[in-house]
C-alpha cells in the first residue's frame, strides 16, 4: 500500500501550487456531466447526483414543491415501496442522503465498494432517479409531516429571523420566497410529478463519484445512471436579484435572546471577487475565534456565544450575512458594536497583520478541506454543480495568496454597501 493517497501524490510543502484532487471529468452519451475522483484507501464508494432543482425553481404560489419532490424520491420507486427501499439499503449497509436547498436537489448514496454490495445499491439509486412513485398516501402523509414541522419551526426565533431576513433581502426574487403551511396544504401530487419531469433530467444533472472504483467502472456507472434520466432541458434562471434600500425589520417574540441578522445580496458562484471576499471575511467574522466580530462582541463584551459573518455564493448572488444572538435587553447595544466593527472594516479593510493571518490560515488549512472521502465529495460536487474550473482546488491556495488588502477593500465596497444593508431583529426589547 502506498504511504500516501494518490490524490496527494503531488503534495509538496515548499510550493504553494498544491494539487487539490485529481478530478476526472467527462460527459455521458446523453449529456450528463461526470466528476470522478478515484480514492482507493477505503472500500467505500460515494455517488452524488445533483440537479438544478432547488427551491428557486418553485413555481409562484407553490413554494415547497422542490423540497417535497426531493423528499419523496426515495419513498417508493418502480416496484419497490418506501419500506422495501429502506430495507434493501439497510441490508446492504448502504445509506441514501441528500436534500434540496435554494439551488440544488441532491440524491447521494454511500455504499461499501465490494461489487456485491455496490451493484444492488447503485440499482436502488438508479430506480429512485428513474421512476419515483409519488404514491398518493405517502404524498399526503409527508405533506402533513412537513406542514407540522414548519408550524413548529415558525415558533422558533432563529427560523423567524432567517425567513424574515431572506424575504427582506430578496423581495422580488425566488430566494426570498419561503413556503407556508397554507401553500404546502394546496400542493398536489401532480405538482410534484410535474416538477420532477421538468427538472430531473440529464441536461440538468451533474454526477460526482468518489471512492474505490476504476475509471472504467465509473464510466459504466455514470452511463447507466444517466441513461435512466430523460434528456429534458436546462432550467431558465429568474432575473438576478435587485439590491433594495436598507431597512430594519423587527419581529416580536417572547424569547430571552434577540436573534439579529444584518446583510445584503452579494456575489454568485464563480464571481471574480470570490477570493478577496473569502480572505476579507476571514478577518471580519469568518475566522472563528480570531475574527474582529468575535473579539469585539464576545471576548471584550460577553454579548454573545456565537457571532459571525459569512457569505454564501449561490447560482445567483447569495447573501452576505452577519448573525448573532444576545440577551434581549442588550440587543441594541450589541447591534451598535456589530455595525461599528463592520463600518470600520469597510472603511479601512484588513491590516497587513490581519491579511497575513487570514492567508496563513486559509492556505495552511487547505489539507483539512480534503482529508476524507466525504469532504472530497462535497467539494467536487460543488465544483461540478456550479461549473467551477476543474483546477479550482489546485489553484485555491495561490489565489488566496495573491489577494491584496486593497482588493479586499474594493470587493467589500462593491458588494457590502452600508446604505443597502438589511437588519432583522427578532425578540428585541
Amino acid at each position: 500500500m502506498k504511504r500516501l493517497f494518490a490524490i496527494f501524490a503531488l503534495w509538496c510543502l515548499s510550493a504553494l501550487a498544491l494539487a487539490g484532487v485529481n478530478i476526472q471529468h467527462w460527459t455521458t452519451t446523453g449529456g450528463a456531466r461526470v466528476y470522478f475522483v478515484e480514492s482507493s484507501a477505503l472500500p467505500i464508494l460515494d455517488v452524488q447526483v445533483d440537479f438544478a432543482a432547488g427551491s428557486m425553481f418553485d413555481p409562484p404560489g407553490k413554494s415547497g414543491v422542490a423540497a417535497l419532490t426531493r423528499s419523496l424520491l426515495d419513498l417508493g420507486a418502480g416496484e419497490l415501496d418506501e419500506n422495501a427501499i429502506a430495507d434493501r439499503l439497510a441490508d446492504l449497509g448502504a445509506g441514501m442522503g441528500g436534500g434540496a436547498d435554494t439551488d440544488r436537489a441532491s440524491v447521494s448514496l454511500r455504499t461499501l465498494a465490494a461489487a456485491d454490495k455496490r451493484g444492488p445499491a447503485l440499482e436502488l439509486l438508479r430506480l429512485v432517479l428513474q421512476s419515483p412513485r409519488f404514491d398518493a398516501a405517502v404524498f399526503e402523509r409527508e405533506k402533513a409531516r412537513t406542514i407540522a414541522a414548519l408550524k413548529e419551526a415558525l415558533t422558533r426565533p432563529d427560523t423567524i429571523a432567517g425567513r424574515t431576513f431572506w424575504a427582506a433581502l430578496y423581495p422580488e426574487h425566488p430566494y426570498g420566497r419561503k413556503t407556508s403551511p397554507e401553500e404546502l396544504a394546496a400542493l398536489t401530487r401532480e405538482d410534484l410529478q410535474g416538477f420532477f419531469q421538468r427538472y430531473y433530467n440529464v441536461r440538468n444533472a451533474s454526477i460526482t463519484i468518489v471512492g474505490q472504483l476504476s475509471r472504467q467502472e465509473a464510466g459504466q456507472l455514470a452511463e447507466r445512471l444517466a441513461a435512466s434520466l430523460p434528456a429534458g432541458e436546462a432550467p431558465t434562471l429568474p432575473a438576478a436579484p435587485q439590491i433594495g434600500k436598507g431597512r430594519t425589520g423587527i419581529v416580536a417574540h417572547p424569547a430571552s435572546q434577540s436573534h439579529i441578522y444584518v446583510g445584503i445580496p452579494a456575489i454568485e458562484r464563480g464571481h471574480a471577487d470570490f477570493f478577496p471576499m473569502l480572505v476579507g471575511n476571514y478577518t471580519l467574522g469568518g475566522g472563528g475565534f480570531v475574527s474582529r466580530l468575535m473579539k469585539e462582541v464576545r471576548d471584550k463584551r460577553g454579548y454573545a456565544y456565537s457571532v459571525y459573518s459569512t457569505f454564501a455564493p449561490l447560482r445567483q448572488p447569495g447573501p452576505f450575512q452577519i448573525g448573532l444572538q444576545t440577551k434581549r435587553s442588550q440587543a441594541g447595544e450589541a447591534l451598535k458594536v456589530v455595525r461599528s466593527v463592520l463600518d470600520g472594516f469597510l472603511r479601512e479593510g484588513p491590516t497587513a497583520e490581519e491579511l497575513a493571518a487570514a492567508k496563513a490560515n486559509l492556505i495552511g488549512s487547505f489539507p483539512l478541506r480534503l482529508d476524507s472521502n466525504r469532504k472530497i465529495l462535497d467539494n467536487v460536487a460543488t465544483i461540478g454543480f456550479y461549473g467551477l474550473p476543474l483546477d479550482y482546488l489546485d489553484t485555491y491556495q495561490q489565489k488566496v495568496a495573491a489577494v491584496t488588502a486593497e482588493q479586499v477593500k474594493q470587493a467589500f465596497a462593491r458588494h457590502v454597501r452600508s446604505e443597502n444593508l438589511v437588519t432583522v431583529m427578532v425578540a428585541a426589547d
Binding site: M1, K2, R3, L4, W11, S40, A41, L42, P43, I44, E82, N83, A90, D91, G93, A94, L112, A114, R145, A148, K151, E152, T155, A168, G246, R247, T248, V251, H253, P254, A255, S256, Q257, G287, G288, F289, V290, K295, R298, D299, R301, G302, Y303, A304, Y305, Q325, T326, A357, A360, N361, I363, S365, F366, P367, L368, D371, S372, N373, R374, V426
Partner: protein
C-alpha cells in the same frame, strides 16, 4: 459475510501493523494513544480530562464547562485569545467540548504542526491564568450559551427537566451547561479551584490520529507533557442513585407548536466488557426499533399508523454514571401525547410477547458492520471513538470487542431485555406542553420599518 468484509478491510486500509493504535504511559501517569492513519497529511490532536459535570457539586453546576471556556484565556507565556490565534496561524481548527463525564480539547492541523499543538496544550494543562476580569466577561458568554441552547429551546428544556427528575442523588441530575443561578454566582476562584483539582497529567490522556509515526509522537509527548507533575486526585464519591420505585411524570410549558413526549427507563451500561450481556442487547433493541427509516418505530408509528411526526430512541451503552434508555416522539396532528405513549409502550410489549425476527437482527448486524468501515473516513471520528471509550472507564482496545458483542446478541436476549428494563417502576415521563408565543395570537406579526 463478516469474514469477507473484514478481510477486504485489511487489504484496503493502510494499517501499518496490527498494533495500531499504539499507546504508552508517561511517568506522570498521562496516557498517550496514537492511531496512525496515513490517508491525508493531517492530524487531529486531543487531550481529554476525566472531569465533567459528573464531578460537580450542588451550587456549582456548569463549572466544568466554564473552565473549558477559560482554557482559552491564556497562560504566562500565551496571552488571552492567543491560543486560538496560534492554532489559526498554523492552518488549524480548534475547539473543546464538555460532557457529563469528561472535558476534551482538540486541534485539527496539517501534520507538520502537531508538535506546536502539543506544546500549546501542555502549557495550558498546568499553567493557566484564571484572570477575574476575563472570567467576568466569559461567564456572560456562557450565560448567552445557556439562553441559546436551553432557555429558548423547548425540547432541550424538556430533557433538562427530565434528567433533574429521573436522577435524585446522582450528579447526572444537573445540566452540563449549569443552572442559571449557579452561573450567576460563580467566581473566578471557583474556576481556579476546579482547574487545580482536575487538570493534572494523571487525570488526562492524549489521543492523536493522523499521518504520524507513533514513536515520534511518543517522543514529543515525553518532551512536552512528560515534565508536568502529577498530583493525587480528590476522592470521587459514587453518589449512587437509589433504586427508583414508581413512575415519575413531569410537564414543561414552553412557546412551541407541537407537543413532545419523552419516556426514560433506567438501564444498565457496560462495566465489564466481556461479562456484561444486557447493554449489548439494549443496543440491538435500539437498532431494531430505530436503526433506519423503516425500522419498527418509523415504519409502524410514522408510516403505517401515522400516529407520530417523528419517533426515536436514545441509548448510550457507555458512561461513567448510570444509564437511561429513552423513547421519544412528537404526535401527528389530531393525536395526543397519550396516544403516542400508548403506541410506544405497545411496541415494547410486542417485543416482550413476540420477540424479534432473525431478519431484523441480520439487518442490524449488516448496518453495524458497514458503519465500522465508514467510520474510517473520519480521523476526528476515530479519535472520538478512542477518547469516548477511555472516558467511560473502558479502554479503546475494547471498542472492537464491544462491537463483536453486539453482533452476537440473540433474538432471545433482545426479548429478555425488553422484559427486564421497561417497567413503570423505573420510568420517567416528560411532556412538552406547547404554549402560544404570546397570550393572544399564535403567529407573530412582522412589522417592517425603514
Amino acid at each position: 459475510m463478516i469474514k469477507r468484509l473484514l478481510c477486504c478491510l485489511c487489504l484496503a486500509v493502510a494499517l501499518p501493523v496490527a498494533a495500531n493504535p499504539f499507546e504508552t504511559t508517561l511517568k506522570n501517569g498521562m496516557r498517550i494513544i496514537v492511531k496512525e492513519d496515513r490517508r491525508a497529511p493531517t492530524v487531529v490532536h486531543m487531550v481529554w480530562y476525566r472531569a465533567g459535570s459528573i464531578d460537580e457539586v450542588d451550587g456549582s453546576s456548569g463549572l466544568a464547562h466554564v473552565l473549558e471556556h477559560m482554557m482559552f484565556k491564556g497562560t504566562p507565556s500565551i496571552g488571552p485569545g492567543e491560543f486560538s490565534k496560534r492554532v489559526a496561524a498554523a492552518g488549524g481548527r480548534d475547539n473543546a467540548f464538555t460532557s457529563r463525564d469528561y472535558t476534551a480539547y482538540f486541534q485539527q492541523v496539517p501534520k507538520e504542526k502537531l508538535e506546536e499543538m502539543m506544546q500549546l496544550e501542555a502549557d495550558r494543562m498546568r499553567h493557566l491564568n484564571v484572570d477575574p476580569k476575563e472570567f467576568a466577561q466569559e461567564i456572560k458568554v456562557v450565560m448567552e450559551e445557556r439562553r441559546m441552547r436551553t432557555d429558548d429551546h423547548p425540547q432541550s428544556k424538556l430533557f433538562e427537566q427530565m434528567n433533574a427528575v429521573a436522577f435524585q442523588a446522582h450528579p447526572y441530575r444537573r445540566p452540563i451547561i449549569g443552572w442559571m443561578s449557579d452561573l450567576e454566582n460563580m467566581t473566578a476562584a471557583d474556576a481556579r479551584a476546579w482547574y487545580d483539582q482536575w487538570y493534572v497529567p494523571n487525570n488526562a490522556y492524549m489521543v492523536v490520529v493522523g499521518d504520524v509515526d507513533h514513536q515520534a509522537v511518543f517522543k514529543l509527548a515525553e518532551q512536552y507533557y512528560g515534565g508536568l507533575e502529577g498530583r493525587a486526585l480528590p476522592q470521587r464519591r459514587p453518589q449512587t442513585e437509589p433504586q427508583q420505585q414508581g413512575a415519575r411524570r413531569i410537564s414543561v410549558k414552553a412557546p412551541a407548536e407541537l407537543p413532545m413526549l419523552v419516556m426514560g427507563y433506567k438501564a444498565p451500561v457496560i462495566r465489564d466488557v466481556n461479562k456484561d450481556r444486557d447493554p449489548y442487547a439494549l443496543q440491538m433493541l435500539g437498532a431494531i426499533l430505530d436503526g433506519y427509516d423503516a425500522a419498527r418505530f418509523g415504519k409502524r408509528l410514522v408510516r403505517e399508523q401515522q400516529l407520530a411526526i417523528s419517533v426515536g430512541i436514545d441509548y448510550d451503552a457507555t458512561a461513567r454514571g448510570p444509564g437511561m434508555f429513552y423513547l421519544f416522539g412528537t404526535p401527528a396532528e389530531g393525536k395526543s401525547v397519550a396516544d403516542l405513549e400508548a403506541a410506544l409502550r405497545g411496541e415494547i410489549v410486542r417485543i416482550q410477547q413476540e420477540g424479534v425476527a432473525e431478519a431484523e437482527l441480520k439487518r442490524a448486524r449488516a448496518q453495524i458492520l458497514a458503519a465500522q468501515i465508514y467510520k474510517l473516513d473520519s480521523m476526528f471520528g476515530q479519535a472520538m471513538e478512542i477518547g469516548g471509550a477511555e472516558s467511560a472507564g473502558l479502554s479503546y482496545k475494547d471498542n472492537a470487542r464491544m462491537i463483536e458483542k453486539v453482533q452476537q446478541v440473540t433474538a432471545e436476549e433482545v426479548r429478555a431485555v425488553a422484559k427486564k428494563y421497561f417497567s413503570d417502576d423505573t420510568l420517567t415521563v416528560g411532556t412538552l406542553d406547547p404554549q402560544p408565543l404570546d397570550g393572544k395570537a399564535r403567529r407573530p406579526v412582522a412589522a417592517t420599518r425603514h
